[in-house]
């Protein structure tokens, strides 16, 4: 029983893994072309950017907040970096490009963090506002034109593959960038589980006032969280530009729903205090597989957004219903406990 519970995971990661597995099996039976290395690799490739976004969203959601400006930050940071490099006519190399983008992203996140922490404002409204501000600022000050050419180092990365397998249905490529994403996942998981900073995020999500009283630096942590989200978003932004081999300022913004849905499906509680990296990655994969498989079975792409929306509502709904059922079950258990205690007392 205990082993079963561990398999289920504290945030139902086990259940999610089963659902994902079931979906893959079902899709493979329904459409044999689904179960190929090509599909698998392309789903992984399509999950690279969402996973990085989702890690950021996970961190905020654990603290009990929400950030909807991450896509705007990502494209701002990525596009501004590319635009700067192209206009200045020099290529600082990949580390340089990522460093510039992360600096821009963290600064934008700092704006979110300061506004939220200093004035204790609702996170959804603030980030909804800054999303517009960042996007508008990018159009006004950075530019709105489409770059079809990227700096050399980025263009080179675009075609780097980790695996290159020849299958019956053609060549299948696994993009090199899955490696840094995997490392990023491990890093975030380690931070969440093994650092006081990580634990303070869960504490704040559990009870903000209690966290303050316990001596956590709540405001400083909040600012760090939004800077971290900004930095992660910037990485995602650069990678998105690399993968699409062009810098389009109209990209990414509008796709926030997919990410938030994936994080919530992954077991992170929208009320804060719960969530894991494993669950989040599974959530992203689930959303990507569903989108992919819906396309394969011929569902028009317009319905994809509907499907993701339904998933989000389902995810939140299941959480709420489970919480309610747990509280009811607890009451019965407490009744039993007191009944047993009573019997012991009578017996002795």
């Amino acid at each position: 029983m205990a082993a079963l519970r561990r398999l289920r995971g504290s945030n139902n990661e086990g259940v999610l893994a089963l659902v994902l597995l079931g979906l893959i099996v079902a899709m493979s039976i329904a459409n044999p072309t689904f179960f190929t290395l090509n599909t698998g690799f392309s789903i992984l490739r399509s999950a690279i950017v969402p996973v990085i976004f989702a890690l950021g969203v996970l961190i905020v959601v654990i603290t009990g907040g929400i950030d909807v400006s991450f896509a705007a930050i990502a494209i701002f940071a990525g596009y501004a970096t590319v635009s700067f490099c192209l206009n200045a006519g020099f290529d600082p190399g990949l580390p340089g490009i990522f460093a510039i983008a992360i600096g821009v992203g963290a600064s934008l996140g700092f704006v979110n963090g300061i506004v939220i922490a200093q004035f204790s404002l609702p996170t959804l409204i603030v980030t909804l506002g800054t999303q517009g501000v960042f996007f508008g600022a990018m159009y006004t000050y950075v530019g709105a034109s489409y770059y079809a050419e990227l700096p050399g180092s980025m263009a080179a990365l675009a075609t780097s593959n980790l695996l290159d397998v020849t299958t019956s249905s053609g060549r299948a490529y696994l993009h090199l960038l899955v490696v840094p994403v995997l490392l990023l996942c491990l890093l975030v998981a380690w931070v969440l589980k093994r650092t006081m900073f990580g634990r303070s995020l869960y504490a704040m999500g559990g009870d903000l006032e209690a966290a303050r009283r316990a001596g956590f630096q709540v405001k400083r942590t909040q600012v760090s969280v939004y800077m971290l989200v900004g930095a992660l978003a910037a990485i995602a932004g650069v990678i998105h530009i690399v993968l699409s081999r062009s810098a389009n300022p109209r990209d990414l913004v509008g796709g926030e729903l997919d990410i938030i849905a994936a994080v919530v499906l992954g077991g992170a509680s929208i009320f804060g205090g719960r969530g894991s990296v494993v669950g989040t990655v599974l959530g992203v994969l689930l959303v990507q597989v569903i989108k992919n498989s819906l396309l394969l079975v011929g569902v028009p792409s317009a319905w994809l957004r509907t499907a993701v929306g339904v998933l989000l509502v389902l995810g939140v709904g299941i959480q709420a219903i489970a919480a309610r059922r747990d509280s009811r079950r607890m009451r019965v258990i407490e009744d039993l406990d007191s009944a047993q205690q009573h019997e012991q007392k009578v017996g002795s």
């Binding site: 006081m196 009870d207 209690a210 009283r213």
Partner: protein, 504 residues
């Protein structure tokens, strides 16, 4: 006085001296001094709003005093911050415990100490032994791997106490620690307090329950309207003198019940009511004008019975008759139509719109009765109702437009009462009507119920506060493990019999 003392008076660990504090020109504390001595329980008693909480906040560094000093271990501070207070060994256990519901018991116990020590990394492996050690020391039995949100109130409190001790607390301040505990849990807590005392911890116990004050403390400070009324060894006080100092007047807690007309038809008749997992086979009748007590331990089913009568969780089986007529109560709407009112246990979250004005809260449940034939609301009628109850219930606020959030416990409870009285219910059920209410307001609330009952309303009081049941109830039903085990009447209703029947 100096020549009379035979032994050196014990050195206090923490002293607050001459503390004054005002908020926006209104004095909250005026020249208050208090000593916390190792191995001693100091009780701080006073009615709601007397300045107890402000004093605690100043000692724990959450608020800064306008004047006065805090002396910790002989070192004087004009003010301290929360971090310094914790470092100095002062721990506060707040009424809401300030625990993290989403973390395990072990993490809750250890996490604040880890923060205080300025660690950057966190190792789950080293946390467990630390938490285990403190449990063993206090001889407590808690499941360290359980999430705190799943614990009972009493276990949450134990977790909070363990957490304080892991932080090497030398002074523990407990804010109203017994409010949510049952009788047995309170005695368990007091046993633990004795063990803490033996360890040389200085305890400050904030309470307004007189029995507890007398049972647990060695020293007593009573406050009223921000002033220190009296301080001294607890042995020099009795219940009567404490309540006199707290309220500034004589408070009558004795039993006052009217004669009932037993020939009148029953207002409410419940027969063989059952709800799986909560209660079984409950039958009783309620006379017109009767105040009926329903008591039992937490989880005995007492609350569930009331919630079924109000349609929150409808019963599985059984019949409910209101005024002789069979009424199926499946929803709250059914209960309201049958003129049954319910004041829930957690009035702050369930019974009030905290951000709304007193006036809005008073009419919230009775708007229907002010409907004109055009489907609009009669402003004049609403105003009359508001005035009637605002004045009639002596709600202590500058005016009826003040938000309910700003009111003290006793006044907030009066607003909830006003809300339901305005609906003119035949049967009014109150769950813990005086929980968190100070002794003066408590007496007044009970008197209000007596008056309404005399006018013909039937009242059910669900409570485990035996003195309150004795003071007001015609009969008391004892619920144990979901069954109605005893019906106490007349002379049987005493504090001792009620407590005995409840936990026996």
């Amino acid at each position: 006085m100096t020549s009379m003392t035979t032994s050196q008076p014990p050195t206090p660990f923490v002293s607050a001296r001459g503390i004054s504090k005002s908020f926006g020109g209104v004095p909250a504390l005026v020249n208050v001094s208090i000593d916390l001595i190792p191995g001693e329980v100091h009780c701080l008693a006073g009615e709601n709003g007397c300045g107890k909480s402000t004093l605690i906040k100043i000692i724990s560094g959450a608020e800064r005093p306008d004047s006065g000093e805090i002396v910790i271990d002989g070192v004087s501070h004009a003010q301290i911050n929360a971090h310094a207070a914790i470092q100095g060994g002062i721990q506060v256990i707040y009424q809401d415990f300030s625990l993290f519901p989403n973390l395990t018991v072990a993490e809750n116990i250890v996490l604040t100490a880890e923060v205080a020590s300025g660690r950057r990394l966190y190792s789950p492996g080293s946390v467990l032994p630390k938490a285990k050690a403190i449990l063993q020391e206090l001889e407590l039995d808690l499941d360290l791997d359980r999430e705190v949100g799943d614990l009972s109130v009493a276990d949450k409190q134990l977790t909070a106490i363990c957490r304080a001790l892991v932080n090497d607390a030398r002074a523990i301040i407990m804010d109203e620690p017994t409010t949510a505990l049952t009788h047995t849990e309170v005695s368990r807590l007091f046993a633990l307090v004795e063990r803490l005392r033996a360890r040389g911890v200085a305890l400050l116990f904030v309470s307004h329950k007189l029995e507890e004050v007398l049972a647990v403390s060695q020293r007593l400070t009573i406050m009223r309207s921000g002033r220190q009324v009296v301080s001294g060894p607890t042995s020099e006080f009795d219940q009567r003198s404490i309540s006199r100092h707290m309220t500034g007047r004589e408070v009558d807690e004795s039993r006052v019940v009217s004669d009932l007309d037993l020939t009148a038809p029953l207002a409410l008749e419940v027969s063989k009511l059952s709800l799986a997992g909560a209660y079984r086979d409950v039958s009783f009748g309620l006379h017109r004008g009767e105040i009926l007590g329903v008591t039992g331990l937490l989880g005995s089913g007492r609350t569930e019975i009331a919630e079924s009568l109000f349609g929150v969780t409808p019963a599985d089986e059984g019949e409910i008759r209101v005024g002789g007529k069979l009424v199926p109560i499946r929803t709250i709407q059914d209960a309201v139509t049958a003129r049954i009112g319910y004041v829930p246990e957690d009035r702050l979250s369930q019974g009030l719109f905290l951000e709304k004005s007193i006036a809005d809260n008073i009419v919230a449940a009775s708007l229907e009765s002010h409907r004109t034939r055009w489907g609009t609301l009669s402003r004049a009628g609403i105003a009359t109702t508001i005035k009637q109850y605002f004045v009639g219930l002596k709600i202590n606020a500058p005016n009826a437009q003040a938000p309910v959030r700003t009111l003290s416990g006793g006044n907030a409870q009066r607003v909830v009462l006003a809300k339901w009285l305005a609906t003119a219910p035949t049967v009014l059920m109150l769950n813990g009507p005086t929980v968190g209410v100070d002794i003066g307001s408590k007496e007044e609330i009970l008197e209000l119920l007596r008056v309404e009952a005399a006018k013909g309303m039937s009242v059910i009081v669900i409570s485990d506060d035996a003195p309150e049941l004795v003071a007001a109830c015609h009969r008391v039903l004892v619920i144990k493990q979901g069954r109605l085990t005893h019906t106490l009447e007349g002379d049987q209703i005493t504090v001792d019999t009620i407590q005995e029947r409840m936990s026996a």
